[in-house]
Amino acid sequence: MNALELIDISITPPGATAPLFPPVTLTIPAGEVLAVMGPSGVGKSTLIDFVGGHLGAGFRASGRVVLDGRDVTQLVPERRGIGILFQDPMLFPHLSVGENLAFGLTRRVARRSERRARVEAALARAGLDGLYDRDPATLSGGQRARAALMRSLLAEPGALLLDEPFAGLDGETRRDFRSFVFAHVKEHVIPVLMVTHDADDAEAAGTRQVVLRHE
């Protein structure tokens, strides 16, 4: 069974002398959403970046990231198999909605017709039927967010990182998208690491919460 393990992780930003937070050790079993809370600036997103391999230039970090028993700490992001969702959906603006999803879809699905069918099915599940050729810029915020999640899941990641994915949405859209995300990750049975500063999001995840504090 997949599990995402963070072992003794400590990160120091460029120019700083002290790490952002005390060493973090966590295990997230598959199918579970772990919410990391904490004040802004404590390094929640930096932790996500480290786990995904996206840490910027100049950061010093120690500790290990283990996915499904495999140490991925030294791997480049594209070899980790860890998906990521940002606050903005980050759909590629030059591709259509369907092409965005096809970009994500794993190469294990090789046949053209099958790839198209998988993308169409994912669109349908996200309530985006018939929007394959649409410009992502013309979608509503909620539609874009769902498309971004489907794009991540089509890559068949071993784990998923959520970097305040609901912060850009309001009210009902936000609640809808939240339950949409949690339903899908349960179904995919992967570990999910979510950072948020909103207690509501953490409550909705209905699972463990960890609070990061400044060292």
Binding site: G52, E78, R80, F92
Partner: protein
């Protein structure tokens, strides 16, 4: 591909830039310096001495040339900046950046030389202005004997430079404005009782100036060392130093080469000296500005000065436009006698004979332009991509090297470079011209591209990586397509720079590679206006077409992509 591969890429690009760009300039400067002190084995001189300097200063008109150079360079730059700043003040809140951009874009594509030739057609005693007011206002039935073009004070040279530099500085300022929270500051300061022009000058402009300083120095260096515009519009006897020393270099008499080398080094020192003077001026102006700010004087009433500047800028644009129309008109003229306001007979004859020379020149120009631009763009993308992949902070010192060719005057190292080429056994020709032009195209492509490249949201790239896309796929499928518009714009800028190159083509082509620019400049001195106009029109049209394509292609490709049709990042 890992970080260390990224470092490898960056090291490779840096090595290419060092070997292809910095080293040649250094070698060129070195050979010029050596020749300036009497050492040029090629013509049998191996003794180090100060004799070339004595010869240079003893050449007739040498001192006048130096003085003319400083005067025209500093005056044209100061006036251009003044007019551009005033016009920007006036435009602020009246015209959006897009409107201004559309208004001045044509002038950015047109080479200096073409604009200068067109301007001469307009302001000369036999030019369009004189024709349109004669004989009814002036009584002239033959062109008056006035030295308007080639005037000994260099006024038409200054005007010619302004026509091109005012729009350029205006555009650079607009780009820099987007980095300054001008609207908020404007509101805050007006609430304190300051007038709009005053806020712009005292609060917004200082922040903008810091960002455009390099561009101003480039304009200054260019104005001090330009050869083609100097030949077309500048004083003729004695000319500005850059023109004089080009003549000496190209003279059949090899005795002039050593003093010409001394003059080339003097030219570089003049640029350095002028930048130092300019820097002192900046400090003085900043000092005055601070004192003014501290006094707290509120003034709502000097909109007249910004209006005056806007009118001046408008005149520059109008003159430039007239110059371009004059070129096109002359190119289809058969008979246009003085003082008729318009041609009496038209003919497309000149256009129907590409074999007369313009066909080959246009082909050379296009081929050299495309190759030099392609090389420079690939190098720029490799540089920026290497920076991304290496995960290292930007190397400012290395960026400084890139812009070296924009500050060091061309004449100071081109002759030495030719010597180095001969020494290395490389013959002058098309390949040498392409390479020499790339020296000047690359910095402009970098300038035009790097801001947009660095502004690309890194989370898009991270998203692609998290979906399993490796570095090559991220570059080809995500970054380059999203950056298509700035990429093509940068390439168009590069192409325009290439088309405009005069000296590198002349020197490195060993006179065997005629381009539209070299031919137009040569023809401008007294030849048939109709033929000159064909070359100059083509010279303006070619970069303009490329610019239009650079705008049209992404607009068409992304016609259904709203996220990419706004202003480039």
């Amino acid at each position: 591909m890992t970080r260390s591969d990224g470092r490898g890429l960056r090291a490779t690009v840096l090595a290419v830039v060092l070997a292809g760009l910095v080293l040649p300039i250094a070698a060129g400067l070195w050979h010029t310096v050596a020749a300036a002190f009497g050492h040029l084995p090629a013509i049998g001189k191996t003794e180090w001495s100060l004799e070339p300097w004595r010869q240079f200063l003893a050449l007739p008109g040498a001192w006048t040339s130096v003085k003319l150079t400083l005067w025209t360079g500093l005056a044209s730059t100061a006036l251009s900046l003044l007019v551009a700043v005033g016009a920007a003040t006036w435009c602020y809140g009246r015209l959006g950046p897009r409107a201004i951009g559309r208004l001045i874009a044509p002038f950015l594509a047109v080479p200096h030389a073409a604009l200068a030739i067109g301007l001469a057609f307009v302001i000369a005693p036999s030019g369009w202005i004189a024709r349109s007011v004669s004989p009814w206002a002036t009584g002239w039935s033959v062109p008056p004997d006035l030295a308007i073009v080639h005037d000994p004070l260099g006024l038409s040279l200054i005007l010619g430079l302004m026509v091109k530099e005012v729009p350029f500085l205006l555009l650079v300022m607009l780009a820099a404005m987007s980095q300054v929270p001008a609207a908020a500051q404007m509101r805050a300061c007006r609430a304190l009782g300051y007038g709009r022009s005053q806020v712009w000058l005292l609060i917004v402009f200082p922040q903008v100036y810091v960002q455009i300083r390099l561009a101003v120095y480039v304009v200054l260096s260019f104005a001090l060392s330009v050869v083609d515009v100097g030949l077309v519009l500048g004083p003729s006897n004695p000319p500005v130093l850059a023109v004089a020393l080009t003549r000496w270099f190209l003279a059949p008499d090899t005795k002039l080469i050593l003093p010409a080398s001394a003059a080339a080094i003097a030219q570089a020192l003049i640029v350095l000296f002028a930048i130092l003077i300019w820097r002192r001026g900046e400090v003085a102006v900043a000092h005055l500005g601070r004192a003014w700010i501290c006094r707290g004087t509120r003034s709502q009433t000097w909109t007249w000065s910004s209006s005056a500047a806007a009118v001046s800028a408008g005149c520059c644009l109008a003159l430039g436009m007239l110059a371009l129309i004059a070129l096109a008109l002359w190119s289809v003229t058969w008979r246009w006698s003085f003082p008729a306001a318009l041609p009496e007979m038209f003919s497309v004859g000149a256009w129907l004979r590409p074999g007369s020379g313009w066909g080959r020149a246009a082909l050379n120009t296009a081929v050299i332009g495309v190759l030099a631009t392609g090389l420079a763009t690939v190098l720029a993308v490799a540089w920026l991509e290497g920076e991304d992949r290496a995960g290292l902070p930007r190397a400012r010192w290395a960026e400084g090297l890139i812009y070296l060719p924009l500050i060091v005057p061309q004449v100071a190292f081109l002759y030495g470079l030719q010597v180095a080429f001969v020494w290395a056994g490389i013959a002058g020709g098309v390949a040498a011209v392409i390479w020499a032009q790339t020296l000047f195209v690359f910095p402009y492509v970098m300038l035009a591209l790097s801001r947009s490249w660095r502004a690309l949201d890194q989370r898009l790239v991270s998203s692609a990586a998290a979906l399993g896309a490796g570095p090559i796929r991220r570059l080809l499928a995500i970054k380059l397509p999203i950056l298509l518009r700035p990429l093509l714009t940068a390439a168009a800028v590069g192409f325009a720079v290439s088309v405009a190159q005069y000296l590198p083509t002349l020197f490195m082509g060993a006179g065997r590679v005629p381009t539209l620019t070299t031919e137009a400049v040569t023809l401008s001195s007294g030849s048939d206006r109709r033929v000159t106009a064909v070359y100059a029109t083509l010279q303006s049209a070619l970069p303009f077409l490329v610019y239009s394509a650079a705008l049209a292609v992404p607009a068409w490709a992304f016609r259904n992509r709203r996220g990419l049709t706004g202003d480039p990042a």
